[in-house]
Protein backbone atom coordinates (compact mmCIF):
# COMPACT_ATOMS: atom_id res chain seq x y z
CA UNK A 1 0.00 0.00 0.00
CA UNK A 2 1.79 3.06 -1.30
CA UNK A 3 0.06 5.49 1.05
CA UNK A 4 1.31 3.62 4.09
CA UNK A 5 4.93 3.61 3.03
CA UNK A 6 4.68 7.35 2.48
CA UNK A 7 3.20 7.96 5.89
CA UNK A 8 6.29 9.77 7.11
CA UNK A 9 6.64 11.22 10.57
CA UNK A 10 6.60 14.73 9.10
CA UNK A 11 3.06 14.27 7.83
CA UNK A 12 1.75 12.98 11.11
CA UNK A 13 3.43 15.68 13.11
CA UNK A 14 2.24 18.34 10.69
CA UNK A 15 -1.27 17.04 10.89
CA UNK A 16 -1.13 16.86 14.66
CA UNK A 17 0.13 20.44 14.74
CA UNK A 18 -2.62 21.44 12.38
CA UNK A 19 -5.05 19.89 14.82
CA UNK A 20 -6.32 17.43 12.31
CA UNK A 21 -7.22 13.80 12.63
CA UNK A 22 -4.27 11.49 12.20
CA UNK A 23 -4.20 7.77 11.64
CA UNK A 24 -3.23 5.14 14.13
CA UNK A 25 0.43 4.62 13.64
CA UNK A 26 3.40 3.11 15.35
CA UNK A 27 4.55 6.60 16.35
CA UNK A 28 3.61 7.24 19.95
CA UNK A 29 2.50 10.83 19.57
CA UNK A 30 -0.19 10.25 17.00
CA UNK A 31 -3.78 10.66 18.03
CA UNK A 32 -6.69 8.55 16.94
CA UNK A 33 -10.08 10.04 16.29
CA UNK A 34 -11.58 7.71 13.80
CA UNK A 35 -15.19 8.63 14.44
CA UNK A 36 -14.95 12.40 14.70
CA UNK A 37 -15.54 14.73 11.80
CA UNK A 38 -13.04 17.12 10.24
CA UNK A 39 -13.15 20.56 11.78
CA UNK A 40 -11.67 24.02 11.51
CA UNK A 41 -8.36 24.17 13.41
CA UNK A 42 -8.25 26.96 16.01
CA UNK A 43 -6.23 30.01 14.95
CA UNK A 44 -3.23 30.95 17.03
CA UNK A 45 -3.93 34.66 16.79
CA UNK A 46 -7.08 36.76 17.30
CA UNK A 47 -9.34 36.58 14.28
CA UNK A 48 -10.65 40.11 14.53
CA UNK A 49 -7.16 41.60 14.06
CA UNK A 50 -6.40 39.77 10.88
CA UNK A 51 -2.77 39.13 10.03
CA UNK A 52 -1.11 42.51 9.66
CA UNK A 53 0.26 43.80 7.43
CA UNK A 54 -1.13 41.29 4.92
CA UNK A 55 -4.87 41.48 5.57
CA UNK A 56 -7.35 42.77 8.11
CA UNK A 57 -9.81 41.07 10.44
CA UNK A 58 -12.68 41.38 8.00
CA UNK A 59 -10.71 39.54 5.33
CA UNK A 60 -9.65 36.83 7.77
CA UNK A 61 -13.19 36.43 9.08
CA UNK A 62 -14.56 35.68 5.61
CA UNK A 63 -11.60 33.53 4.65
CA UNK A 64 -11.65 31.40 7.80
CA UNK A 65 -15.32 31.33 8.81
CA UNK A 66 -16.79 31.17 5.31
CA UNK A 67 -14.39 29.78 2.74
CA UNK A 68 -12.40 27.38 4.92
CA UNK A 69 -15.48 26.39 6.91
CA UNK A 70 -17.33 25.56 3.68
CA UNK A 71 -14.56 23.21 2.56
CA UNK A 72 -14.73 21.45 5.94
CA UNK A 73 -18.52 21.15 5.78
CA UNK A 74 -18.46 19.91 2.20
CA UNK A 75 -15.73 17.40 2.99
CA UNK A 76 -17.67 15.93 5.91
CA UNK A 77 -20.81 15.72 3.81
CA UNK A 78 -19.08 14.08 0.87
CA UNK A 79 -17.21 11.43 2.81
CA UNK A 80 -20.07 10.42 5.11
CA UNK A 81 -20.79 6.74 4.64
CA UNK A 82 -17.79 6.18 2.40
CA UNK A 83 -14.42 4.56 2.96
CA UNK A 84 -12.93 8.05 3.18
CA UNK A 85 -14.82 8.71 6.39
CA UNK A 86 -12.34 6.92 8.64
CA UNK A 87 -9.24 8.12 6.80
CA UNK A 88 -6.92 10.80 8.06
CA UNK A 89 -6.82 13.94 5.94
CA UNK A 90 -3.49 13.31 4.27
CA UNK A 91 -4.54 9.83 3.24
CA UNK A 92 -7.73 11.16 1.64
CA UNK A 93 -5.64 13.61 -0.35
CA UNK A 94 -3.10 11.04 -1.48
CA UNK A 95 -5.78 8.50 -2.39
CA UNK A 96 -7.81 10.97 -4.48
CA UNK A 97 -4.88 12.77 -6.13
CA UNK A 98 -5.46 12.64 -9.88
CA UNK A 99 -8.62 10.53 -9.45
CA UNK A 100 -11.24 11.89 -11.82
CA UNK A 101 -14.10 10.14 -10.07
CA UNK A 102 -13.36 11.75 -6.69
CA UNK A 103 -12.57 15.29 -7.70
CA UNK A 104 -15.05 16.76 -5.19
CA UNK A 105 -13.53 14.87 -2.27
CA UNK A 106 -10.02 15.83 -3.37
CA UNK A 107 -10.87 19.50 -3.80
CA UNK A 108 -12.42 19.86 -0.38
CA UNK A 109 -9.88 17.70 1.46
CA UNK A 110 -6.94 19.45 -0.17
CA UNK A 111 -8.40 22.91 0.43
CA UNK A 112 -8.96 21.98 4.08
CA UNK A 113 -5.31 20.94 4.39
CA UNK A 114 -4.03 23.92 2.39
CA UNK A 115 -5.89 26.44 4.50
CA UNK A 116 -4.99 24.75 7.80
CA UNK A 117 -1.34 24.83 6.74
CA UNK A 118 -1.59 28.45 5.59
CA UNK A 119 -2.93 29.70 8.95
CA UNK A 120 0.13 28.16 10.60
CA UNK A 121 2.47 29.82 8.10
CA UNK A 122 1.32 33.25 9.28
CA UNK A 123 2.09 35.26 12.37
CA UNK A 124 0.70 38.79 12.75
CA UNK A 125 3.34 41.52 12.69
CA UNK A 126 1.49 44.77 13.32
CA UNK A 127 4.69 46.41 14.63
CA UNK A 128 6.31 45.53 11.30
CA UNK A 129 9.40 44.16 12.97
CA UNK A 130 12.12 42.54 10.91
CA UNK A 131 10.99 39.07 9.96
CA UNK A 132 13.38 36.69 8.26
CA UNK A 133 13.97 32.97 7.87
CA UNK A 134 16.56 31.63 10.31
CA UNK A 135 18.50 28.54 11.29
CA UNK A 136 18.71 25.47 9.11
CA UNK A 137 15.96 26.61 6.79
CA UNK A 138 17.76 29.89 6.08
CA UNK A 139 20.93 27.94 5.28
CA UNK A 140 19.04 25.58 2.98
CA UNK A 141 17.36 28.52 1.21
CA UNK A 142 20.76 30.10 0.65
CA UNK A 143 22.11 26.83 -0.67
CA UNK A 144 19.22 26.10 -3.04
CA UNK A 145 18.36 29.65 -4.17
CA UNK A 146 21.61 31.56 -3.73
CA UNK A 147 20.19 33.99 -1.19
CA UNK A 148 17.05 34.70 0.82
CA UNK A 149 16.41 37.75 -1.36
CA UNK A 150 16.56 35.65 -4.52
CA UNK A 151 14.22 33.08 -2.97
CA UNK A 152 11.71 35.80 -2.08
CA UNK A 153 11.89 37.27 -5.58
CA UNK A 154 11.24 33.88 -7.19
CA UNK A 155 8.46 33.08 -4.76
CA UNK A 156 6.77 36.41 -5.40
CA UNK A 157 7.17 36.11 -9.18
CA UNK A 158 5.61 32.66 -9.09
CA UNK A 159 2.74 33.82 -6.92
CA UNK A 160 1.96 36.77 -9.19
CA UNK A 161 2.13 34.82 -12.43
CA UNK A 162 -0.09 31.98 -11.19
CA UNK A 163 -3.08 32.41 -13.51
CA UNK A 164 -6.50 31.90 -11.97
CA UNK A 165 -6.79 30.43 -8.47
CA UNK A 166 -4.15 28.49 -6.59
CA UNK A 167 -1.30 28.36 -4.10
CA UNK A 168 2.42 29.04 -4.24
CA UNK A 169 4.56 26.67 -2.17
CA UNK A 170 8.06 26.27 -0.87
CA UNK A 171 8.45 22.50 -0.79
CA UNK A 172 11.12 19.93 -0.02
CA UNK A 173 11.51 16.97 -2.32
CA UNK A 174 12.29 14.09 0.06
CA UNK A 175 14.04 12.11 -2.67
CA UNK A 176 16.63 14.86 -3.27
CA UNK A 177 16.39 16.94 -0.08
CA UNK A 178 16.23 20.01 -2.28
CA UNK A 179 13.95 22.98 -1.75
CA UNK A 180 11.95 24.33 -4.64
CA UNK A 181 9.06 26.68 -5.36
CA UNK A 182 5.98 25.28 -7.06
CA UNK A 183 2.62 26.65 -8.12
CA UNK A 184 -0.49 24.54 -7.64
CA UNK A 185 -3.71 25.48 -9.41
CA UNK A 186 -7.02 25.47 -7.60
CA UNK A 187 -6.77 22.89 -4.79
CA UNK A 188 -3.55 21.16 -5.82
CA UNK A 189 -1.78 20.04 -2.64
CA UNK A 190 1.93 19.10 -2.66
CA UNK A 191 1.45 16.10 -0.38
CA UNK A 192 -0.55 14.54 -3.20
CA UNK A 193 2.63 14.82 -5.26
CA UNK A 194 4.77 13.35 -2.45
CA UNK A 195 6.42 16.71 -1.75
CA UNK A 196 6.75 18.15 1.74
CA UNK A 197 5.27 21.62 2.26
CA UNK A 198 7.42 24.17 4.09
CA UNK A 199 5.57 27.44 3.39
CA UNK A 200 2.50 28.43 1.40
CA UNK A 201 0.67 31.55 0.27
CA UNK A 202 -2.96 31.38 -0.84
CA UNK A 203 -3.41 33.36 -4.07
CA UNK A 204 -7.06 32.62 -4.66
CA UNK A 205 -8.61 36.07 -5.05
CA UNK A 206 -10.72 35.53 -1.93
CA UNK A 207 -7.48 35.53 0.10
CA UNK A 208 -6.72 39.17 -0.57
CA UNK A 209 -9.54 40.87 -2.45
CA UNK A 210 -11.11 42.82 0.41
CA UNK A 211 -7.72 44.25 1.45
CA UNK A 212 -5.74 44.52 -1.77
CA UNK A 213 -8.36 44.08 -4.52
CA UNK A 214 -6.53 43.22 -7.75
CA UNK A 215 -3.08 44.04 -6.36
CA UNK A 216 -1.88 40.52 -5.69
CA UNK A 217 1.77 41.63 -5.76
CA UNK A 218 1.18 43.96 -2.79
CA UNK A 219 -0.44 41.17 -0.80
CA UNK A 220 2.44 38.74 -1.44
CA UNK A 221 4.96 41.45 -0.60
CA UNK A 222 3.18 42.18 2.66
CA UNK A 223 3.56 38.53 3.65
CA UNK A 224 7.13 37.95 2.52
CA UNK A 225 8.81 41.23 3.28
CA UNK A 226 11.94 41.20 5.46
CA UNK A 227 10.97 44.49 6.97
CA UNK A 228 7.62 43.73 8.51
CA UNK A 229 6.35 40.59 6.77
CA UNK A 230 4.19 38.07 8.57
CA UNK A 231 5.54 34.63 7.74
CA UNK A 232 5.83 32.40 10.77
CA UNK A 233 9.39 31.34 10.03
CA UNK A 234 9.51 29.23 13.21
CA UNK A 235 6.76 27.01 11.82
CA UNK A 236 8.51 26.78 8.46
CA UNK A 237 11.84 25.97 10.18
CA UNK A 238 10.11 23.19 12.12
CA UNK A 239 8.64 21.79 8.91
CA UNK A 240 12.06 21.78 7.34
CA UNK A 241 13.83 20.16 10.30
CA UNK A 242 11.18 17.46 10.54
CA UNK A 243 11.44 16.78 6.84
CA UNK A 244 15.22 16.43 7.03
CA UNK A 245 15.12 14.07 9.99
CA UNK A 246 15.30 10.61 8.45
Amino acid sequence: NSTQTYHTPIMLKQLARLNQRTATHRFAFSTVQLRSKHSLPPLEYPLEEGVQPAFDGRQLDFHYNKHHQTYVNNLNKMIAGTSFEAMPLDQIIMKTQGDGSHVGVYNNAAQHFNHSFFWKCLRPNPQQNTNEPKGELAKAIEKDFGSVAEFKKQFSDNAVKLFGSGWTWLVLDPTTNKLSIINGSNAQCPIGLKLIPILTVDVWEHAYYLTHQNRRVDYVQAILSNAGGCVNWDFCEENYREAMRK
Binding site: K66, G164, S165, G166, W204, E205, H206, Q213, N214
Partner: protein, 253 residues
Protein backbone atom coordinates in the same frame (compact mmCIF):
# COMPACT_ATOMS: atom_id res chain seq x y z
CA UNK B 1 -16.26 -2.08 -46.80
CA UNK B 2 -15.11 -0.75 -43.42
CA UNK B 3 -12.29 1.41 -44.77
CA UNK B 4 -14.57 3.22 -47.21
CA UNK B 5 -17.06 3.99 -44.43
CA UNK B 6 -14.28 5.30 -42.22
CA UNK B 7 -12.98 7.54 -45.01
CA UNK B 8 -16.47 8.88 -45.68
CA UNK B 9 -17.12 9.39 -41.99
CA UNK B 10 -13.85 11.28 -41.59
CA UNK B 11 -14.67 13.44 -44.61
CA UNK B 12 -18.08 14.23 -43.12
CA UNK B 13 -16.56 15.10 -39.77
CA UNK B 14 -13.90 17.29 -41.36
CA UNK B 15 -16.55 19.15 -43.29
CA UNK B 16 -18.60 19.58 -40.14
CA UNK B 17 -15.61 20.78 -38.14
CA UNK B 18 -14.57 23.17 -40.90
CA UNK B 19 -18.09 24.55 -41.04
CA UNK B 20 -18.20 24.95 -37.24
CA UNK B 21 -14.85 26.70 -37.21
CA UNK B 22 -15.97 28.92 -40.04
CA UNK B 23 -19.06 29.88 -38.07
CA UNK B 24 -17.06 30.41 -34.96
CA UNK B 25 -14.49 32.53 -36.76
CA UNK B 26 -17.21 34.66 -38.29
CA UNK B 27 -19.04 34.93 -35.03
CA UNK B 28 -17.04 37.80 -33.65
CA UNK B 29 -16.78 39.79 -36.86
CA UNK B 30 -20.55 39.58 -37.21
CA UNK B 31 -20.94 41.06 -33.77
CA UNK B 32 -20.30 44.61 -34.90
CA UNK B 33 -21.07 45.76 -31.42
CA UNK B 34 -18.16 43.81 -29.96
CA UNK B 35 -15.40 46.20 -30.98
CA UNK B 36 -12.29 45.79 -28.89
CA UNK B 37 -9.46 45.88 -31.38
CA UNK B 38 -8.76 48.68 -33.77
CA UNK B 39 -7.11 47.67 -37.02
CA UNK B 40 -6.65 51.32 -37.86
CA UNK B 41 -4.57 52.08 -34.80
CA UNK B 42 -3.30 48.55 -34.42
CA UNK B 43 -4.05 48.57 -30.73
CA UNK B 44 -6.30 46.62 -28.42
CA UNK B 45 -8.63 48.69 -26.30
CA UNK B 46 -11.26 48.38 -23.63
CA UNK B 47 -14.61 48.30 -25.38
CA UNK B 48 -16.91 51.19 -24.68
CA UNK B 49 -19.72 50.03 -22.42
CA UNK B 50 -23.41 50.56 -23.11
CA UNK B 51 -23.84 51.83 -19.56
CA UNK B 52 -21.86 54.00 -17.13
CA UNK B 53 -19.92 51.41 -15.15
CA UNK B 54 -19.15 53.93 -12.41
CA UNK B 55 -22.82 53.74 -11.52
CA UNK B 56 -22.56 49.98 -11.21
CA UNK B 57 -25.03 47.66 -12.92
CA UNK B 58 -28.12 48.08 -10.83
CA UNK B 59 -29.27 46.19 -8.83
CA UNK B 60 -26.50 43.57 -8.99
CA UNK B 61 -23.12 45.32 -9.11
CA UNK B 62 -22.05 48.47 -7.29
CA UNK B 63 -19.93 51.13 -8.94
CA UNK B 64 -16.98 50.01 -6.81
CA UNK B 65 -17.26 46.41 -8.04
CA UNK B 66 -17.50 47.55 -11.66
CA UNK B 67 -14.63 50.00 -11.39
CA UNK B 68 -12.27 47.30 -10.19
CA UNK B 69 -13.50 44.78 -12.72
CA UNK B 70 -13.47 47.02 -15.79
CA UNK B 71 -10.73 49.56 -15.00
CA UNK B 72 -8.29 47.17 -13.29
CA UNK B 73 -8.81 43.54 -14.24
CA UNK B 74 -10.06 43.91 -17.80
CA UNK B 75 -7.70 46.84 -18.43
CA UNK B 76 -4.70 44.76 -17.29
CA UNK B 77 -5.38 42.23 -20.05
CA UNK B 78 -5.59 45.01 -22.65
CA UNK B 79 -2.36 46.55 -21.38
CA UNK B 80 -0.63 43.19 -21.56
CA UNK B 81 -1.83 42.59 -25.12
CA UNK B 82 -0.65 46.00 -26.31
CA UNK B 83 2.73 45.49 -24.70
CA UNK B 84 3.09 42.21 -26.60
CA UNK B 85 1.88 43.89 -29.78
CA UNK B 86 4.34 46.75 -29.44
CA UNK B 87 7.21 44.35 -28.74
CA UNK B 88 6.57 42.55 -31.99
CA UNK B 89 5.46 39.34 -30.26
CA UNK B 90 2.25 39.24 -32.27
CA UNK B 91 3.63 39.96 -35.73
CA UNK B 92 2.60 36.59 -37.11
CA UNK B 93 -1.04 37.41 -36.30
CA UNK B 94 -1.03 40.68 -38.23
CA UNK B 95 -3.99 39.89 -40.47
CA UNK B 96 -5.86 37.45 -38.27
CA UNK B 97 -9.22 38.01 -36.63
CA UNK B 98 -9.39 37.88 -32.84
CA UNK B 99 -11.37 34.65 -32.73
CA UNK B 100 -8.84 32.96 -35.02
CA UNK B 101 -5.99 34.28 -32.87
CA UNK B 102 -7.59 32.78 -29.78
CA UNK B 103 -7.92 29.37 -31.38
CA UNK B 104 -4.40 29.49 -32.80
CA UNK B 105 -2.87 30.60 -29.50
CA UNK B 106 -4.72 27.79 -27.73
CA UNK B 107 -3.70 25.11 -30.21
CA UNK B 108 -0.07 26.20 -30.18
CA UNK B 109 0.01 26.52 -26.37
CA UNK B 110 1.03 30.16 -26.65
CA UNK B 111 -0.23 30.71 -23.12
CA UNK B 112 1.33 34.14 -22.77
CA UNK B 113 -1.00 35.34 -25.54
CA UNK B 114 -3.94 33.03 -24.98
CA UNK B 115 -4.67 34.03 -21.39
CA UNK B 116 -4.94 37.81 -21.84
CA UNK B 117 -6.51 37.54 -25.30
CA UNK B 118 -9.20 35.07 -24.28
CA UNK B 119 -9.86 37.09 -21.12
CA UNK B 120 -10.16 40.26 -23.23
CA UNK B 121 -12.75 38.50 -25.36
CA UNK B 122 -14.56 36.97 -22.38
CA UNK B 123 -14.86 40.26 -20.53
CA UNK B 124 -15.90 42.20 -23.65
CA UNK B 125 -18.59 39.60 -24.24
CA UNK B 126 -19.68 39.66 -20.61
CA UNK B 127 -20.23 43.45 -20.65
CA UNK B 128 -22.62 42.96 -23.59
CA UNK B 129 -24.53 40.31 -21.68
CA UNK B 130 -25.52 42.64 -18.85
CA UNK B 131 -27.56 45.81 -18.64
CA UNK B 132 -28.76 47.89 -15.68
CA UNK B 133 -32.28 47.19 -14.49
CA UNK B 134 -34.36 49.89 -12.79
CA UNK B 135 -36.73 47.31 -11.36
CA UNK B 136 -35.88 44.32 -9.19
CA UNK B 137 -37.48 41.58 -11.27
CA UNK B 138 -35.56 38.89 -13.14
CA UNK B 139 -35.51 39.38 -16.87
CA UNK B 140 -36.81 36.70 -19.22
CA UNK B 141 -35.67 35.54 -22.66
CA UNK B 142 -38.15 36.14 -25.47
CA UNK B 143 -38.72 35.14 -29.07
CA UNK B 144 -37.00 32.20 -30.73
CA UNK B 145 -34.44 31.85 -27.97
CA UNK B 146 -37.19 31.53 -25.39
CA UNK B 147 -38.82 28.84 -27.49
CA UNK B 148 -35.55 26.99 -27.95
CA UNK B 149 -34.89 27.06 -24.19
CA UNK B 150 -38.37 25.79 -23.41
CA UNK B 151 -38.06 23.14 -26.09
CA UNK B 152 -34.85 21.80 -24.55
CA UNK B 153 -35.42 22.32 -20.80
CA UNK B 154 -39.20 22.29 -20.47
CA UNK B 155 -39.23 25.76 -18.95
CA UNK B 156 -36.92 28.70 -18.29
CA UNK B 157 -36.70 27.92 -14.56
CA UNK B 158 -35.20 24.49 -15.23
CA UNK B 159 -32.65 26.05 -17.57
CA UNK B 160 -31.78 28.64 -14.91
CA UNK B 161 -31.33 25.89 -12.33
CA UNK B 162 -28.87 24.02 -14.51
CA UNK B 163 -27.00 27.24 -15.24
CA UNK B 164 -26.84 28.14 -11.55
CA UNK B 165 -25.78 24.64 -10.53
CA UNK B 166 -22.93 24.68 -13.01
CA UNK B 167 -21.87 28.23 -12.11
CA UNK B 168 -21.81 27.49 -8.39
CA UNK B 169 -19.84 24.27 -8.86
CA UNK B 170 -17.31 25.77 -11.28
CA UNK B 171 -14.32 25.18 -8.99
CA UNK B 172 -11.64 27.86 -8.95
CA UNK B 173 -11.74 30.65 -11.53
CA UNK B 174 -13.78 30.46 -14.71
CA UNK B 175 -16.91 31.24 -16.67
CA UNK B 176 -20.30 29.61 -17.14
CA UNK B 177 -21.90 29.83 -20.57
CA UNK B 178 -25.02 29.26 -22.54
CA UNK B 179 -23.62 28.12 -25.88
CA UNK B 180 -24.80 27.09 -29.33
CA UNK B 181 -23.41 23.77 -30.45
CA UNK B 182 -23.54 23.84 -34.26
CA UNK B 183 -22.99 20.09 -34.52
CA UNK B 184 -26.39 19.51 -32.88
CA UNK B 185 -28.82 21.65 -34.89
CA UNK B 186 -31.91 19.98 -33.36
CA UNK B 187 -30.80 20.60 -29.74
CA UNK B 188 -28.06 23.18 -30.07
CA UNK B 189 -28.29 24.90 -26.68
CA UNK B 190 -25.94 23.77 -23.92
CA UNK B 191 -24.77 25.08 -20.56
CA UNK B 192 -21.02 24.62 -20.15
CA UNK B 193 -18.32 25.58 -17.66
CA UNK B 194 -14.88 26.74 -18.66
CA UNK B 195 -11.91 27.23 -16.34
CA UNK B 196 -9.58 30.22 -16.09
CA UNK B 197 -9.51 31.95 -19.50
CA UNK B 198 -11.07 29.22 -21.61
CA UNK B 199 -13.57 30.27 -24.27
CA UNK B 200 -16.12 27.77 -25.61
CA UNK B 201 -14.91 28.56 -29.14
CA UNK B 202 -11.90 26.32 -28.53
CA UNK B 203 -14.40 23.48 -28.28
CA UNK B 204 -16.23 24.75 -31.39
CA UNK B 205 -19.20 26.01 -29.44
CA UNK B 206 -20.56 29.49 -29.94
CA UNK B 207 -21.03 31.73 -26.89
CA UNK B 208 -24.52 33.17 -26.38
CA UNK B 209 -24.46 34.27 -22.72
CA UNK B 210 -21.81 34.25 -20.02
CA UNK B 211 -21.32 34.93 -16.34
CA UNK B 212 -17.85 35.63 -14.91
CA UNK B 213 -17.34 33.49 -11.82
CA UNK B 214 -13.76 34.48 -11.12
CA UNK B 215 -13.93 35.71 -7.53
CA UNK B 216 -12.89 39.24 -8.60
CA UNK B 217 -16.18 39.44 -10.50
CA UNK B 218 -18.36 39.41 -7.37
CA UNK B 219 -16.19 39.56 -4.27
CA UNK B 220 -16.69 43.24 -3.45
CA UNK B 221 -20.48 42.90 -3.50
CA UNK B 222 -21.11 39.27 -2.56
CA UNK B 223 -17.95 38.06 -0.82
CA UNK B 224 -18.02 34.26 -0.80
CA UNK B 225 -21.72 34.05 -1.66
CA UNK B 226 -21.48 32.98 -5.29
CA UNK B 227 -24.92 31.28 -5.19
CA UNK B 228 -26.56 34.59 -4.28
CA UNK B 229 -24.63 36.39 -7.00
CA UNK B 230 -25.84 33.89 -9.61
CA UNK B 231 -29.44 34.28 -8.41
CA UNK B 232 -29.20 38.06 -8.73
CA UNK B 233 -27.52 37.85 -12.13
CA UNK B 234 -30.83 37.08 -13.85
CA UNK B 235 -31.99 40.61 -13.04
CA UNK B 236 -29.39 42.16 -15.33
CA UNK B 237 -29.09 39.72 -18.23
CA UNK B 238 -29.34 41.64 -21.50
CA UNK B 239 -31.56 39.14 -23.31
CA UNK B 240 -31.83 41.38 -26.40
CA UNK B 241 -28.13 40.87 -27.05
CA UNK B 242 -28.27 37.15 -26.34
CA UNK B 243 -31.32 36.68 -28.59
CA UNK B 244 -29.62 38.67 -31.32
CA UNK B 245 -26.54 36.43 -31.22
CA UNK B 246 -28.70 33.31 -31.16
CA UNK B 247 -30.75 34.38 -34.15
CA UNK B 248 -27.67 35.40 -36.12
CA UNK B 249 -26.07 32.02 -35.51
CA UNK B 250 -29.28 30.09 -36.21
CA UNK B 251 -29.89 31.94 -39.45
CA UNK B 252 -26.42 31.13 -40.71
CA UNK B 253 -26.60 27.45 -39.74
Amino acid sequence: GGKKNLFFKKKMMNRLTRRNLHQVKNFVTRQQSLRYYSKRNNQFYLPKLDFDHKQGVSPVFTGEQMEYHYEKHHQSYVTKLNSMLNSGDLDKYKDKEISAMIIDAYNSSFTQLYNPLAQHFNHSFFWKCIKPNEGEEEREPTGRLHDAIVSQWGDVETFRNEFKNKAVNNFGSGWTWLVYNPSKPKTPLEVVNTGNADVPTIHEKIPLLTIDVWEHSYYVDYRNDRPKFVDEFWKIVNWEFVEDVFETVENSN
